[in-house]
Amino acid sequence: MSDPRAAVIVFPGSNGDRDLLEALRAAGFDSFPHPSGQPLPDDVALAGLPGGFSYGDYWRAGMLASQEPAVRSLSSLIDRGGLVIGVCNGFQILVEAGLLPGALSYNDPAGFRHRWVTVRCALETDSPWFRNVPNGATLRLPIAHGEGSYFHPGGFDAVASHAPLLYEENPNGSMGALAALLDDTGRVLGIMPHPERASDPDLGSEDGLSLFTGAFGAVARHPSPVAGKNEVAAGAHTS
């Protein structure tokens, strides 16, 4: 059987697409770049929204990108049981698209910040992204953003049950030190740090790869979102 396909949506101004393609490939996916101006093909098991400055961040970060056809087609992928990850700018796009709740605003203290940080898994979850990251585990990942301060009008309590990763030291003023967020299905992950840049021991850490191998394990165990999308639509591998 061929490897499950993973589309990395390339927006004008994306700059982490190649890194995300590499990490997904390292985890076993047949990853390929997909232009944001077209809806996703039906045969993908996973979609990745990479980091970068889509549309230059010239409006609110991620806002313009969230209107793109590829993003509008994500809900049908999710309905089919597919997986979605948005990293950094990709997280901002998922929030702007309404696929994850809340908002990401300017860092506090203000300014773009690159730093290696430690995040802790703080959730018992069936999310496929966390098959290989048990509750309590820590990951060392880089952050590189200026608008990563997570806000929810209901406060952190409103999203605590969907917040799988928390910063050990809050670098950006996020509510509850939230570093990542899952949707209700557990299949859509927004994450501000960069796991795709921590997927090669030569580059300082391979902790991030465990998220992608977890996703691969889930998809490989249920190799259906593509071939048998009806089966998936029937809920074959929802948690």
């Binding site: 300014g111 200026g146 090669d200 580059l203």
Partner: protein, 723 residues
């Protein structure tokens, strides 16, 4: 135009009377107004190197690994596996002095375009900055703007900033320096050329539209800076950067090669420069139609279109039957594209606008015909050695003071403003090694880049000061297991019309050439920025030196940190003199001081030894002695490692000079106990002094009989500004 008015206009544009005479003699007629503007831009110091080209021609350029040298968009060196690193330094000093954010941002954008023009995907940016007194509000304003500009462009574009240097010295108060190095990766067989060949091939302009920004920026860069209140009037010379457009354009450029004959980025002097240089390089000419150039505003004068320095543009020469596909390709990437001319065999740059020929000039005369400008070299300034000073009662207090010095203190707050890891290549970024290290795609091999610079040593002696920097660069590379292979030089100096400044510039370049020959290294390109003077005086002659090294196996490079229990070895001989040093300056307050102590043979032997032993996997951590000498190097290694040391060694009559003096050929390394003897044996064979002097342990830095201080105190002193 009468001869008199032509002369007046030409002089007002910055041409000299002799140059105007030369132009008339070569053309056999007077140039018209547009042609005059083209000459004024292209024959400015910034574009023509008329004051320095004879000096720079003395630098060695040949090397086994050199694939493209000076004259290319960016120098290219073979780093193995069929890959080349394309790299170059450029300055953006004057724009940054008057508009720090855009000046720095477009400096980064400009050097990235050089790398892209070479066909390379940008993989790294480094920055070399010189600011004035850090305590002044003006320095704060400049620094905040420059750092934000470098980050604002590079972060969005998606190229990691992997290191650099920042100097603070009141001699840069009136004229800060902003130099940037960019590096890219290109397959050997995918390198691109600027040579426009094949009459009938079509000229394309792609990227952003052409506006009125940055007109005659090259001429502005070739004058001294005025008083602060005059800067506002200069802001219209500064270009405005758009990293989003730059990123789209980079992707479009790298994805295009069907029918591509030649390409060049549009920088200083815009279309006038690109067309004349591409034609001159190919021995051809161009017919250009300015109305076909996509313009940002209506009613632009032909000289404005020709000389606009609007950012994010390239010119391409494309085979005629591929033009439609090329235009479609670029437009599909969201950038403008238009055919605006054709290659001819006339050797002339002919430009039409509104039905008239507005320029008809020999391309080679415009691009390469600037008469050399020879300046008188006066005597070098007298040196002032440090006055005698006694050994300090408490060397630990000296160490603390040195660690807190601007220029030695930690800059991680600054580097946090830059994305360091995008692109998945960065093995060692800022603060994580003596040089930046990146890995090649799908390979265990890698390359390293060291960027060093500053004018402190060069103010005392430009010849030796430059060589001291060369030595530092190859030591830095060796500390990450990399063998130096090629150099890009960014030279910043004062006005050549001042005989003293011209003498210093000449000595700097002579020192660079002799140093490169001593080390067997070629220059593959670079930049020379003159007229760095303000009403407060000239800057010190300031070279920025970027050196690329090769690493056969990144799995074996020394760690950035040492671990408790490792043996500490001292490689090299402590200087036994203050040398030209941060210590001497801190202690005596003398600004210039003695000539730097340089022994490039010692640096060369040290580097070869470290590279060989790193390849054997024997070195755990390595740190060479630079600013602040062996003492500061050891303290920084301890702070970075979170581990103390205990050192036992006999020092000379002046232990403070041994510890804080600066010179060549010194480094600390650590090793597992079992490897120490092998290292000492290998050092004896290589003619490198090496001695086992201590052990990594505890949480204090102890040099017995001299220093015993808690790591936490050193770290606090070193931490610098926390922004």
């Amino acid at each position: 135009m009468t001869m008199t008015s032509m002369t007046e206009l030409g002089l007002a544009m910055g041409l000299t009377a002799a140059e105007l005479d030369h132009i008339v003699a070569e053309l056999g007629r007077e140039p018209n107004r547009v042609e005059l503007a083209v000459f004024a831009g292209m024959w400015s110091e910034h574009c023509s190197y008329k004051s320095t080209k004879e000096l720079l021609s003395t630098l060695p350029t040949a090397g086994d690994r050199v694939l493209a040298g000076p004259g290319a968009h960016a120098g290219c060196v073979d780093v193995g596996d069929g890959w080349a690193v394309a790299f170059k330094i450029e300055s953006h000093n004057h724009p940054s002095a008057v508009e720090p954010y855009q000046g720095a941002a477009t400096g980064v954008g400009g050097i990235l375009r050089d790398v892209v023009a070479q066909g390379a995907r940008p993989v790294a940016v480094m920055d070399a900055l010189c600011f004035g007194d850090p305590a002044t509000p003006r320095t704060r304003w400049l620094q905040d703007g420059v750092v934000a500009g470098i980050g604002g462009y590079g972060n969005s574009y998606g190229v990691p900033n992997v290191g650099g240097l920042t100097v603070y010295d009141s001699r840069y108060d009136g004229n800060p320096l902003v130099n940037a190095l960019a590096a890219g990766l290109v397959r050997h067989d995918a390198m691109r050329t600027a040579a426009a060949t094949g009459p009938g091939n079509v000229l394309l302009i792609v990227g952003a539209t052409t506006g009125r920004d940055g007109i005659l920026g090259a001429a502005f860069a070739s004058e001294e800076l005025g008083e602060d209140h005059e800067h506002a009037a200069r802001r219209s010379h500064v270009q405005v950067g758009d990293p989003f457009m730059g990123k789209k354009l980079m992707e479009a450029m790298l994805a295009f090669d069907d029918g591509l004959v030649a390409c060049q980025d549009l920088g200083a002097c815009g279309i006038a420069c690109a067309t004349s240089e591409m034609a001159a390089a190919g021995g051809t000419g161009f017919d250009v139609d300015l109305e076909a150039v996509p313009q940002r505003e209506a009613g632009m004068d032909p000289f404005e279109i020709l000389l606009s320095e609007s950012q994010e543009r390239f010119m391409l020469v494309v085979e005629p039957d591929r033009v439609d596909a090329a235009l479609e390709h670029f437009r599909s990437h969201g950038v403008h594209a238009a055919a605006c001319g054709a290659v001819t065999d006339s050797g002339r740059l002919r430009v039409r606008h509104d039905g008239e020929t507005v320029v008809d000039l020999p391309a080679a005369l415009v691009a390469e015909g600037t008469p050399p400008q020879r300046w008188e070299a006066g005597p070098l300034p007298t040196r002032h050695p440090y006055p005698d000073f006694p050994a300090p009662a408490d060397p630990a207090a000296v160490l603390v003071d040195l660690l807190a010095e601007p220029g030695i203190a930690d800059l991680s707050w600054l580097y946090e403003r830059y994305d360091q890891t995008v692109g998945n290549r960065t093995v060692r970024g800022p603060g994580r090694g003596e040089a930046a290290v990146q890995k090649l795609p799908g390979s265990s091999a890698g390359y390293a880049i060291s960027l060093v610079g500053g004018g402190d040593g060069c103010a005392a002696d430009p010849y030796l000061g430059t060589q001291a920097l060369l030595g530092e660069a190859i030591r830095n590379l060796a500390c990450v297991g990399a063998e130096a292979v090629a150099v890009s030089d960014g030279i910043n100096a004062g006005s050549p019309s001042d005989p003293v400044e011209f003498a210093r510039l000449s000595e700097l370049i002579r020192g660079l050439g002799d140093g490169l020959r001593a080390l067997g290294l070629p220059v593959t390109g670079g930049n020379c920025s003159l007229y760095n003077e303000s009403p407060s005086g000239p800057i010190p002659p300031t070279p920025m030196i970027g050196v690329v090294g090769v690493i056969p196996d990144i799995g074996r490079i020394p760690c950035p940190t040492m671990t408790t229990g490792e043996v500490v070895l001292l490689v090299g001989t402590p200087s036994g003199e203050p040398g030209h040093s941060g210590y001497g300056r801190l202690t005596t307050g003398a600004v210039d001081g003695p000539a730097p102590s340089v022994d490039l043979d010692a640096d060369s032997r040290l580097a070869a030894f470290l590279v060989a032993q790193a390849a054997e996997g024997r070195i755990r951590a390595a740190k060479d002695a630079g600013r602040g000498g062996l003492g500061v190097a050891l303290a920084k290694l301890c702070i970075r490692s979170g581990t103390g040391v205990e050192i036992n060694r006999e020092w000379g009559d002046r232990p403070d000079w041994d510890l804080f003096g600066e010179g060549s050929g010194m480094a600390w390394i650590t090793a597992h106990g079992a490897e120490a003897d092998a290292l000492i044996e290998a050092g004896a064979l290589a003619g490198v002094p090496i001695d086992r002097v201590g052990i990594a342990q505890g949480d204090r830095l102890v040099i017995s009989g001299l220093i015993d201080i808690a790591l936490a105190d050193l770290a606090a002193a070193h931490s610098g500004r926390t922004a």
